[in-house]
């Protein structure tokens, strides 16, 4: 299970960051606009071959069946996971606590996904999520085609 993003829908409202911060005390997802033309949320990708879990000396980060889990009690705050993450998705706060998206294990759906007003964030396994993304893309194409046909007739 992972969080997928339908980029075309993200409006950079930061609701995902706020929801995550309320849940964890620190946001583990960050959304920023790029040149005022597109906005992109970035959070842990739950890598299948997870460099952070391979490097973690204390076993605080571990690759599970469908996500990369983090156990704060085991963490030594060495900071090596921050340095190895290919996406810069792991953070350390001022008290040397490591923060990373844990997909909100106590919830059915992560708080950011629940909160996203435009449903730009999707939660599910790859098949479900890409199916929904394909369905949305197909609808967009169909709509623009219908609009183009309408213009030609007018």
């Amino acid at each position: 299970m992972e969080i997928y993003v339908d980029l075309g829908r993200c409006i950079c409202c930061h609701a995902c960051e706020v929801a995550c911060e309320r849940e964890h005390g620190e946001p583990n997802i960050s959304v920023e606009a790029v040149r005022y033309r597109a906005s992109v949320p970035v959070s842990c990708h739950q890598c299948e071959v997870a460099p952070c879990a391979l490097v973690c000396p204390s076993g605080a980060l571990a690759k599970g069946a469908s996500s990369v889990s983090f156990e704060a009690e085991k963490c030594t705050s060495c900071g090596l996971c921050l340095l190895v993450c290919p996406f810069g998705a792991i953070d350390m706060d001022s008290t040397s606590m490591v923060h990373k998206c844990d997909l909100c294990p106590e919830r059915e759906v992560p708080a950011c996904v629940l909160t996203c007003p435009t449903e730009a964030l999707l939660y599910g396994d790859q098949e479900d999520a890409t199916k929904e993304l394909r369905r949305r893309a197909a609808r967009r194409i169909a709509q623009s085609y219908a609009a183009a046909v309408g213009r030609d007739r007018a």
């Binding site: 075309g8 790029v34 391979l54 060495c78 090596l80 967009r140």
Partner: protein
Amino acid sequence: MTATEPGTLRLLVVDGGKCIGCRACSSLWPEISCALSFSDKGPQRTIKFPRAFEEFEARIAESLAEVCPTGAISIVLTDERPEEESFALSFEMIRCRRCRTPFATEGEMKYIIERLPKDLQAPNSAISWMEICPSCRRSVERDAAARDLIVARSGARR
């Protein structure tokens, strides 16, 4: 030198060849963070270690040895108080190829790369992400995704 009770002082020994300059020991406990300080100044990281721990601080000394990922820290019992109160290790830092900010020590990089799977270590492979700092990695990913979206949108408008 002042003699104390025999063998009650814990002498902190750090193997400079093994220490990679990570944050594990310095972020162990806030109480000792003043004695064990970690600072990045320009392209140089300095970690200042206390030389000895009193008997009542034995647990602190032991945990320092436990958290060290490379086993560079060891504790030696002594009864002679060392002359210096602290000692420091310095590390050259690697600069981000994109923003030129120093972000990791050479030792940290080596430790990490040794633990990554071989297929990620092939020349010209994705390991090049290691040459840029974490915040630039976020920007690079964000820019790439944004570029795809902008291209897709301008295509749709045509």
